[in-house]
Symmetry: none
DNA sequence: GATGAATGAGCTTTCATTCAT
DNA sequence: TATGAATGAAAGCTCATTCAT
């Protein structure tokens, strides 16, 4: 099954933006990597910046949708946080380039576009904030600085995208579970009675 | 006390590289921020890339020297790791822009320069690796994947540079201690009997 | 017949490089003379230096090919030398700008490019050297310093590019014949019995 | 005896202008070659262009003065031409860099300066023109195109600066005599009865 | 006499993008 | 759909020169 041209361009952009940065990647680099002329490129994207924004929004939307699906109607804040962490870690391990782009290149976007991306990110992070806040409210979590804790946990998990290798010694499931444990400990929950079994889902 | 021009240029670069990225920062931006003409800029730097490399090396050397000073002749691996984490967190909280530049812009450097910077970073990280390895060897730490643990901890601490604000609710000392606790837990040490009192030093 | 753009650029470069020198000619001068923007210029050339090298190689290749065609299978060294001189003079009179560029700007080229151009020039000059050497070997020529003689003759003929004007009082044929006579005298041959009739060809 | 600084600058300029061309030589190159700072350079020269003009004028004035001294009050046009050629050849062999600068870089000069240099050159060349004209008028020379002949002879001799090496197989005296012979033959004089003995003088 | 500091103007080249075909 | 041609703007950097010290 031949790869859709638009998708080829997207992948080229993901590869190059992650490796050399948005400003370090020229339109000619994208064209070459996509096996297209620079002019043809513009049949498949609006502008370089829109291409970047599309990648970011796609990544964040997937994350947000998955996270929403996995936490909706889940009462226990510990289970919610655990699932969020596992999903986040898995996503950053599997799509390190997309997630690094989201993490590193937001400053590039023009204000209007940036707002739309940041809004998505905020929606996603509010799932984390809610889980933490609910845990604190119900007495399951104890943390003096919920906001700080949320950010610290998020950044810790983001880091996975910068070092995880599927060829390494650790399985993705173990990794995700390990990070979930660390997170629950960080909010003062008792992860030794694991809130739920190994979740494979994403 | 008037600020040395060379230092003014360095600060301008730190500010702009951190905010807009190396490739997103033009030589004219640097000149304006330094209150210099673009031509004058070149009295105080070799090239834009050398300026970047100098900033990176300066940051890493300071970190390496401080870390070495604080861990040399310290037997206990838990104390060493604790001090490394605290220093790292403090440095990333106090110099978030320098450290983010080190973390984000290494790919920009030409191979030869990159090697020199990476060598410094490796020297620094080997202090972490040694502490973890010694702890494991002496049975104080238990971690199945020392390499992964080191990277995960480093990235967790790096994250501080991306969110910490001195105007926030958490003091730098509390933050550093907190991260040290998390780190010791992550390697299976027992931080409840804190390996040493609150160290204020850097 | 409209002039190919690439050729327009080449002619502009020939005109300007000859008049103001390579380093004295800016990319903006070339663009203006070619009726192109500076950016468009780069559709038709690799770089300013490659444009120069192309001009040089084109000129030398034409000269080499013509010279080879006119001297191959010619036994008599006097006839060969005579033809080489006439061709050289004619070429320098007709294409004074190209030939002056070849003569004046070789030092500009980067080492690798320079080697390729010098190799062409050496191939061409070896035709002269062979003619002289064969003439000496067969006793037709007498010159104590064949290498010096070759260089002196070449430089004498190169000079034509610096002063000949088609509006002057001397026809190109007369000029070429005259130089051939001088050359044969210089190697001690007897040109009064002209080695061949007036050759109009090139 | 230490070398006067002004003279050191002049020699540096001669070396570099000859090797890389006027426009190919930067003020920094000159400073480095002179062991001076760029600012100090301006104590010893007016501007880069004036330095060039000074070199040219110096070279031409020396040539003109020597030529005048050697031909004044000499009746025989053959002797005059012979001496002019010998002097010219010797000068171009001994000072190939200065003479090449005169030959190659006149187009660089601003109109006013150029006029002053060209005036000197014209004065010098008029000695040649006079010798040829007198020879033709008195019937000693026969050449249908005196102007062309003068230019061709001059260029032939100029060529010496581009190839002569003092380490070569030919002495300077032989070379100069040889060129004088060629020149006299070219104007139809009979050099076999050499117009005068070997002149060593310059 | 010597020079670090400074600069406006300029350099060659590349940028992202458009458009006619 | 695809692309050669085209470009205004900007990139990083160097130019020759001046001047206060």
């Amino acid at each position: 099954m031949a790869l859709d041209t638009r998708e080829r361009v997207r992948r080229a952009a993901v590869k190059l933006f992650a490796a050399k940065g948005f400003h370090g990647t020229g339109i000619r680099d994208l064209a070459q990597e996509s096996n297209l002329s620079t002019a043809s490129l513009y049949h498949y994207m609006g502008s370089k910046e829109e291409l970047l924004a599309d990648i970011m929004r796609g990544c964040l939307r997937t994350l947000l949708d998955s996270a929403t699906a996995q936490t909706t109607d889940v009462e226990d804040p510990a289970i919610r946080l655990s699932r969020l962490v596992k999903l986040h870690v898995r996503t950053h391990a599997r799509l390190p380039r997309e997630t690094r782009i989201v993490d590193h290149e937001i400053h590039v976007l023009a204000p209007a576009t940036r707002r739309s991306v940041v809004a998505l990110r905020d929606s996603y992070e509010s799932l984390w904030a809610d889980a933490v806040a609910d845990g604190v409210a119900s007495g399951v979590f104890t943390t003096a600085h919920p906001g700080v804790t949320r950010l610290a946990l998020l950044e810790m998990c983001n880091g996975v995208a910068r070092w995880y290798s599927p060829r390494g010694s650790m399985s993705l499931d173990d990794l995700a579970s390990h990070y979930a444990d660390v997170a629950l400990r960080a909010v003062g929950a008792c992860p030794q009675r694991s809130p739920e079994g190994q979740s494979k889902g994403e």
